[in-house]
């Protein structure tokens, strides 16, 4: 018998529970929490600000710099050694590429926008959660952007095409598994992140991307609501003292 019912009982196109909140870190220029299932991502944005070292400066526009990091106690199993790994470097890079297409940084030549993504608790889908949190945080920081970016993984478990694979599904042993993290610009449907590991046929891939697109529109609604909810009430602002 193949994989015809998901381990956690979700429909193939059903996301784990999703929640988001904007403005969780007062010292940052913009910040957000994004949660999908048991994966929690925090993102903080600083900038545009002065960029060092100088040789990185772009006189045409501001640059974007992302850092993805798992807190040492965030993962199932052993402690994650702090200080970054090849994996976290690569994820930081693809996160940057996923966000850059929507950003308008022409008004800030020579400057940098720093995005710091930290994961206090991880399950599957950390890079996608990080991108979702970062997009909210960038908007919260007042950065000019054409749209938010929404991200989720899609893929195939056995013969089932599904979105937002869980850890259990990623490690399914009785058939092929494909895990495809993708990010979309919600308005236009353009793809800004695409990675894959595993095995999938062409039809399965196309179906998975369509399913991810639909799921990202649901995620976009959660992101949008998080930003609006922040301003539904008086906003807590920085403390009493100076910050200069």
């Amino acid at each position: 018998m193949g994989y015809d019912k998901r381990f956690d009982g979700r429909r193939p196109d059903e996301l784990r529970p999703v929640a988001a909140k904007a403005g969780i870190i007062k010292r940052a220029d913009g910040s957000a929490m994004f949660r999908i299932g048991n994966t929690v991502a925090y993102a903080a944005v600083y900038g545009p600000r002065d960029l060092f070292p100088r040789f990185l400066k772009d006189p045409q526009r501001g640059i974007l710099r992302c850092r993805y990091n798992m807190m040492p106690f965030s993962g199932a199993g052993e402690r994650v050694k702090p200080g970054g790994s090849r994996r976290s470097k690569e994820i930081s890079m693809v996160t940057e590429k996923a966000l850059l297409p929507v950003l308008n940084l022409e008004d800030f030549p020579n400057a940098v926008v720093d995005v710091f993504i930290e994961l206090p608790q991880t399950d599957a889908g950390t890079r996608c959660a990080g991108i979702c949190a970062a997009a909210i945080a960038l908007a919260d920081a007042g950065v000019s952007m054409k749209d938010l970016v929404s991200s989720v993984s899609a893929g195939k478990v056995g013969e089932m095409v599904a979105v937002d694979l869980s850890y259990a599904e990623e490690s399914y042993k009785d058939g092929d598994v494909a895990d495809i993290p993708v990010a979309f610009i919600p308005r236009t449907g353009q793809v800004t992140l695409l990675q894959m590991d595993g095995m999938i046929d062409k039809d399965g891939l196309k179906k998975a991307l369509e399913m991810a697109r639909a799921a990202c529109l649901q995620i976009y609604e959660v992101q949008r609501r998080a930003l609006k909810e922040k301003f539904a009430v008086p906003v807590a602002v920085k403390g009493n003292g100076s910050t200069v």
Partner: protein
């Protein structure tokens, strides 16, 4: 560089008031939340005013150190995450994070907070290692006291994962808590001119002359200290600072 700030804070202090209106011996509101991340064996979030830190405890089975073959291993690490302040940078740990980690470590170790003998599985071969990581979320002053409080709260909530003699099964925590003997807390007393105060704001930290961090057990024993800042302290200063720290430690113990 901060002459204006120093002058203004001193003006306030001269009128018996902190820069945010508090009294000298008054903490901002302190809150502790347990179980904030599910993959850690123990965890806590501490807020002191706008300052927020998370501590998580991971456990593993390791070889003991040569000089303590029948004791468990303890490690404390602090990460000043660049997400938590415009002043923190990504990269290897700097002096400040190493100092926080080491001072918290000394408080836990020297007070014998954990009964490390009970962490021994097989002398000289296998012991439990307790690894505490403290991550800053919003750095708004007094990270030392917040870090220690989070570490202690996380340790007290830590439960052993299952162990079958070969491998640790992290998916199945047991109901066995860490063997705790004492509960040290850190209280940092800061000095500016002739004024002594607790729980500094960033602005107050920037212009402070000196600070003394004191680790104190629930029985009132002093178990570790660290002087910071560029100015010297007199023995009389130290006496006053320790008195204030001891009084505030009692309040923090009630929160744990």
């Amino acid at each position: 560089m901060n002459e204006l700030l120093r002058a203004n804070i001193l003006k306030w202090f001269g009128k018996g008031m902190r820069y945010d209106g508090r009294a000298f011996g008054e903490f901002r509101p302190v809150s502790i939340e347990l179980g904030v991340t599910k993959n850690a064996e123990g965890s806590a979030r501490v807020r002191i005013g706008d300052t927020e830190v998370i501590a998580g405890v991971k456990m593993a089975v390791e070889k003991p150190y040569n000089d303590t073959p029948a004791d468990g291993n303890l490690m404390v690490n602090a990460e000043l995450l660049p997400l938590s302040s415009p002043d923190f940078e990504a990269g290897p740990p700097g002096e400040e994070s190493i100092e926080i980690a080491r001072v918290v470590d000394r408080g836990v170790r020297e007070s014998k907070a954990i009964d490390t003998a009970k962490l021994c599985i097989e002398p000289g071969e296998k012991v439990w290692a307790v690894m505490v990581d403290i991550c800053t979320i919003n750095a708004a002053g007094n990270l030392l006291d917040a870090a220690a409080l989070a570490a202690m709260a996380a340790l007290r909530s830590t439960k052993f994962p299952a162990y079958n003699g070969k491998a640790v099964d992290y998916e199945h925590p047991t109901n066995n808590k860490l063997p705790m003997l004492r509960i040290p807390v850190l209280v940092t007393v800061t000095k500016l001119d002739e004024h002594f105060f607790v729980d500094p704001l960033i602005e107050e930290e920037k212009v402070a002359d000196a600070r003394l961090t004191v680790a104190i057990t629930e029985a009132g024993q002093i178990c570790a200290m660290q002087k910071g800042g560029d100015s010297p302290l007199s023995i009389d200063d130290i006496g006053r600072m320790v008195d204030l720290a001891a009084a505030k430690a009692k309040e923090l113990h009630k929160k744990l």
